[in-house]
């Protein structure tokens, strides 16, 4: 497994692969890899085949963290990540530094951003100002650096996946976006690097996101008429906040394509939620 840390070396390799007719898949990550990431790598391998190239990028992108968020304490363990990638059959790990990705940013000579201006407004966009501008910008950069034929994202970040698909379509990036299903712990908790923060009783309380999704699914399944979104939101908020350290940021029901909130809920309505468990902000989502 190759490890590349400069943009120039990565772009040279990408050019060689193109000339050799290799199919390339990129799995962009923030590192601190878990079974969810491994499933993205497996999806990438399935897409490009044995002769194709699977690239994992590991970069804690500062521009997607809002002020006051956990950028400085975001978990990092590069040796472990490399071992996991190697074991998962990754061909190349791209691990750039901040000065490689945003040269001159401190001095104001980095100044270009990609913004999606509709789908980015609600939910995560509302709670995390600038987050999706940072995500769209870093993904655009990675697409230009790795020139993949395919890029794989996780369904846990539902809104992110929608925005990246929109960006790729709008800006005509010559890449196919695949979205792979959320991988969960045995008890239902969605895999996340931030689960590392959940010690002791917080880990138990974190299950309330999954339980809320199950409750919503059950409600829709049992309903004989459309379910009122406002009432179900209110109910789920109270349900989750029965946990002493849980604070709901949002519970939202919306159309999966437009991300527009729906006043009533039925089969196919998309649900997403963000909850603080202690200081740790968790997200999850499901199609009802």
């Amino acid at each position: 497994m190759k490890v590349v840390s400069t943009v120039a070396a990565m772009q040279r390799l990408a050019l060689q692969w193109k000339a050799q007719g290799k199919t390339v898949a990129l799995v962009p990550t923030l590192g601190y890899l878990h079974a969810g990431h491994v499933s993205l790598v497996e999806r990438a391998r399935k897409a490009v085949g044995k002769k194709g190239i699977v690239v994992v990028s590991i970069y804690v992108n500062p521009t997607q963290f809002a002020a006051g968020e956990d950028l400085s304490r975001y978990p990092r363990d590069l040796p472990r990540d490399k071992a996991l990638c190697s074991k998962a059959g990754v061909d190349l790990v791209f691990v750039p530094t901040d000065s490689e990705m945003y040269p001159g940013k401190a001095e104001g000579s980095y100044s270009t951003y990609v913004s999606e201006v509709n789908l980015s407004k609600p939910m995560e966009g509302n709670s995390r100002p600038g987050h999706f501008r940072g995500v769209a910008t870093i993904v655009a950069k990675l697409l230009n650096i790795v020139s993949p034929d395919i890029a794989v994202f996780g369904a846990k970040d539902f809104q992110q996946a929608a925005i990246i698909q929109r960006m790729v379509k709008d800006l005509n990036f010559p890449v196919k976006i695949l979205v792979a299903p959320t991988v969960r712990e045995a008890d239902g908790l969605a895999m996340s690097s931030r689960n590392k923060y959940l010690q002791g009783h917080l880990r138990t309380q974190a299950l309330s996101l999954w339980q809320a999704i199950q409750a919503a699914k059950g409600t829709v399944k049992a309903a004989t008429q459309p379910v009122d979104a406002a009432r179900l939101k209110d109910y789920l908020r109270k349900f989750i906040e029965q946990q002493p350290d849980a604070k709901v940021d949002y519970v939202e029901f919306f159309d999966a394509d437009t991300l527009q909130p729906t006043p009533t809920i039925g089969r196919g309505t998309q649900m997403a939620l963000a909850v603080f468990i202690g200081n740790t902000r968790l997200i999850d989502n499901a199609t009802l």
Copy 2:
């Protein structure tokens, strides 16, 4: 000479060229081509060689026109443009429609933009709100559609060239940007598709931009100490507005790299100006 009008067909060809190891140069234009554009084509050919591919895109990009500008009346003559390109040895003309470039824009389902946020602020950015966001967005799209190794822009749009170079660097587009010198009419007027608007005495008055540049050059050449920018601006404004139909939008002296205004002027200072001649807004620039 090939003529391609869909994004999908253009991207298929780009992929084939990559696989064949062809070097590709793109000359993005708004059409209504003149000798300035032909010089960009010549620069592109020189860069890629006889075996390389020169692509000219012709597209009046709506997102770079501010409200109330001349989008609807911008001059168009596709048959003439094609003939000029063919004669200039262009290999392919890419002529997309609005619905091809911004599908769903009227219904709000186009929503991604590229913004350069520093160099875009003064001069054209100040006078034409949203202009450079439109320029950066369409250039990003064209780079993703044509995947050129080289893209050629004209020095007449000095600020635009600076912003595109910054965008390409910041977002890591794998392309080399070349900036080719401004081509002028025999009397010094910079070539522009908008010169078509200049009838009769307006054409004569339009020469005042070039004359102001010559005056500034002469002042710097003659000066024994640094020239005060504010005073020279004031002088040039009055000089230009001696023409009855001339109204100065801005005259600016600045650092060629940062575009920061300079309080004093010397050799190497960059000058740019925008002047309305009747209803026609003209720009020009020079290194002093």
